[in-house]
């Protein structure tokens, strides 16, 4: 079928032949979607993620959570390219075991964060396409959230959203947890119950507007008693 694309500038048909090198593009990365969220409270931390794995306009899996338990007090949320998420979590698990065997104690959240930063920067020139957020309790029992970029830059936060709907969720968290951009409001510290409800509401909003977020929400609540997991259904369209 003739289309305007096969005509050159002068109006004559373009020659179509295969002499010379033809460049084929292969991309080692894919974007599998998903959103991750972490909130640190006075004596608890929450890491939540949706469970949809997608590619392009299709859904690969509706039940693939992005929170991975590292220790009793630390959970990591990884979103981005699923292949790199799996490999990265395997590497972190192996390094945790090595540390436990040589130092006879479990790694703390801060130590895991520092180690992850060096692992990610080690691949500076062929990065892991993963957006990481670590949530857990620090040595004093207070909630801690560490957020990363794909090459290892990290900082400690009170709350952070990452992944495909992060740009929609972060302003909402800034307002509701950080009390930013509001006047004359009392800064009430966040309770566990209120934080869990906020995380649920925030993910329901994200599922409405972001096509890559949906299906179900996995919430991991970390307290000194241990880790509690819940799954809540989200929109499936």
């Amino acid at each position: 079928m003739l289309s305007s694309l096969s005509f050159g500038d002068t109006g004559k048909m373009k020659e179509y032949h295969y002499t010379g090198a033809v460049e084929h593009r292969f991309s080692p990365y894919a974007f599998n979607g998903g959103t991750v969220l972490a909130v640190a409270g006075e004596d608890f931390a929450i890491v939540a993620s949706d469970t949809r794995l997608s590619e392009g306009y299709s859904i690969h899996c509706r039940d693939s959570p992005k929170c991975y338990k590292l220790t009793d007090t630390t959970v990591i949320g990884c979103s981005g390219f699923h292949g790199d998420c799996l490999t990265l979590t395997k590497i972190i698990d192996a390094r945790l075991k090595m540390y436990k065997h040589s130092n006879n104690k479990m790694m703390t959240s801060g130590a895991i964060a520092a180690m992850l930063s060096t692992i990610l920067y080690g691949r500076r020139f062929f990065p892991y396409y993963v957006y990481n957020i670590i949530g857990g309790l620090d040595e004093e029992g207070k909630g801690a959230v560490y957020s990363f970029d794909p090459v290892g830059s990290y900082q400690r936060d009170t709350y952070k959203a990452g992944g495909s709907a992060s740009a929609m969720l972060q302003p909402l968290l800034d307002n509701q947890i950080g009390f930013k951009n509001m006047e004359g409001v009392q800064h009430v510290p966040l309770t566990k119950e209120k934080a869990v409800q906020l995380v649920k509401d925030v993910f329901v909003s994200a599922a409405e507007r972001d096509v890559y977020t949906g299906d179900a929400l996995r919430i991991c609540l970390i307290t000194k008693e241990g880790m509690d997991e819940q799954t809540i259904p989200l929109r499936r369209d």
Partner: protein, 229 residues
């Protein structure tokens, strides 16, 4: 009306210098249509996306062409709206001057000729259906101006999911309720399995005897709220 392409070369040059042209809002979409005994059922989802963000959760993709002819549009939202509005007004003038009710084949021919004259630069994917003096008809029209007349069609990013349902359950000469259920299920397959489609199913049932204002009523809930909500 001759098409003018001077701006295409300018846009090509500009896109090399400046980042890129502003992107049109695309609708992702699942649209479909089926012919049954005595009429046509058209269906569409209601999600409009801009990239990966949902721009409109409840937009209307079934456009009026004439009292017994409606058209669903996918891909670029502005293109489908403008194209169908133009053909609708031209068809009304044509019907007045010929003193006859418009035929679906006339709307199809007008759409084909307009899209071909724009050589693919206008990008709607259309499912045109209606009833005229020769019975029910269903056409699908693509961006370059090609058209197919078929008993059941699907278009849009969710067309494969919807077509899977049609290929499984379509029968010729179905009753109206059966056809409505089939179209509803096809669009629902697109909504759950395609990320570009979502939210509600809009149905438009066109038969010879239904009065015009009953044909495509929005916000009239029919059937149960789906399980995924």
């Amino acid at each position: 009306m001759a098409s003018r392409f001077e701006n295409c070369k300018r846009n090509g040059e500009a896109s090399k210098v400046v980042c890129s042209l502003p992107s049109a809002r695309k609708t992702g979409t699942t649209i479909c249509g089926v012919v049954f005994k005595g009429g046509v059922v058209l269906g569409a989802d209601t999600r409009a996306t801009k990239g990966i963000v949902v721009a409109d959760k409840n937009c209307s993709k079934i456009h009026y062409i004439s009292p017994k002819i409606y058209c669903c549009g996918a891909v670029t939202a502005a293109d489908t709206e403008m194209t169908t509005q133009l053909i609708s007004s031209n068809l009304e003038l044509h019907a007045l001057s010929s003193e006859r009710r418009p035929k679906v084949v006339t709307a199809n021919r007008m759409l084909q000729q307009m899209l071909f004259s724009y050589q693919g630069y206008i990008d709607p994917a259309l499912v045109l259906g209606g009833v005229d003096c020769n019975g029910p008809h269903l056409y699908t029209i693509c961006l370059h101006g090609s058209s197919d007349k078929l008993p059941y069609v699907t278009m849009g990013s969710g067309s494969l999911a919807a077509m899977a349902v049609f290929e499984d359950r379509y029968k010729p000469d179905m009753e109206e309720e059966e056809a409505k259920q089939l179209v509803r299920d096809a669009i629902a397959a697109g909504i759950t399995n395609d990320l570009g489609s979502g939210r509600n199913v809009d149905l438009c049932v066109i038969t010879e005897d239904k009065p015009h204002n009953e044909v495509n009523q929005r916000s009239v809930r029919y059937g149960q709220v789906p399980a995924y909500l």
